[in-house]
């Protein structure tokens, strides 16, 4: 197997150069997809027979929830790469993904709470999904706080990598116990997003919105990653030449 590709991936300069080419495509496609999906979802889909127009929150709530969960999985992958192959770029990715994932976690919680008001008549319900999402936010906060507390880059990188891996082992356990706890306490009967089948005219804009949010996340991650590269490589000739 040819490993040069792998080693190239580890080179920040190579990534900086190649990601510069991706960036315009990511920007245009995420902008177009998100605006098309949201306008479609807001104005051109019929209202839900049960929830009326309030279900239109789904077009941001579901993509944000998906992102919040999968970003943590991506962070755990980056953590494993950091620990096993000691690739600097993986640690940079781990660092920049945490605040983005946390922001989408907050978005998911906020839209869930707003949706809860017309659906359940209350802002917050100790529903299994909302509770798990809240705990996921705690996990994000822990990683961000740990990164801020350790001042040497190397030690912070590995400590955060270990913490992300510990978190990812715990996520299924937490999810299982929260689900179990919720069934015990007989919480809300009407879950927000679980529907037997979604009408296709609602499903299409939702899929577009999910894709758009993922592209947006990739774009923001690349933007932040490029800044992190510049910041860490500020002593190198290529960065100095780039700036001046």
């Amino acid at each position: 197997m040819n490993w040069t590709f792998f080693h190239k991936l580890g080179s920040p300069k190579w990534f900086y150069d190649i990601s510069g080419k991706w960036l315009p495509w990511l920007q245009v496609s995420s902008l177009v997809l998100i605006s098309v999906a949201l306008v479609w979802g807001l104005a051109f889909t019929p209202p839900d027979y049960l929830q009326g127009n309030s279900y239109r929150i789904i077009f941001i709530h579901v993509p944000a929830s998906f992102l919040a969960q999968s970003v943590y999985m991506m962070m755990a992958t980056a953590a494993a790469v950091t620990l096993i192959w000691k690739i600097k770029l993986a640690d940079m990715a781990l660092k920049v993904m945490a605040p983005i994932g946390a922001s989408f976690c907050i978005l998911s919680l906020a839209t869930g709470a707003i949706w809860g008001q017309p659906t359940w008549g209350t802002w917050w319900v100790w529903d299994a999904r909302l509770t798990s999402m809240l705990i996921l936010l705690f996990l994000y906060i822990g990683i961000i706080a740990l990164r801020g507390a350790i001042h040497t880059i190397e030690a912070a990188a590995k400590a955060c990598a270990i913490l992300s891996l510990v978190g990812v082992v715990n996520i299924p356990i937490i999810k299982f116990s929260v689900d179990w706890w919720n069934t015990l306490h007989q919480g809300a009967t009407l879950t927000l997003t679980e529907k037997p089948s979604m009408a296709p005219e609602m499903l299409w804009p939702l899929l577009l919105a999910i894709l758009g949010f993922y592209l947006f996340f990739t774009m923001v991650m690349v933007l932040r990653l490029r800044i992190e590269i510049i910041s860490r490589e500020r002593k190198t000739r290529w960065v100095k030449e780039l700036v001046s």
Binding site: S11, S54, S231, K240
Partner: protein
Amino acid sequence: MYFDSWSGFLAMAGHGIYVWSAYAVASVVIAYNLAVPLMARRRIFAQIAAQVRREERLVKRGVDVNQVTAGSGDDTGRHSANSGSTQQKHCAERQAEQQAEQQKENLESVKGSAQ
């Protein structure tokens, strides 16, 4: 178009406040995610540009930049992350440079007075 009027679109049959506030929160989160990297980018570029200018000034005065900025990296992107940038380290370096500059000036003035 599902709604028959603009006001109907805004009202969403009574659910407008919820739908629109959710979308407002979403736009805040999206704006945050865009604003942070753009601002950080400007700050980092200004910092590095200032650093480069300082080094050029030092070169003009004949100070060996490599001595002042210890461990200037290679551009293969494979050096250890230690030579990266904690803020404190950056500050310490800046101080070292300023001291070197000061010493140089002092030396010159001493020479001048001796003559």
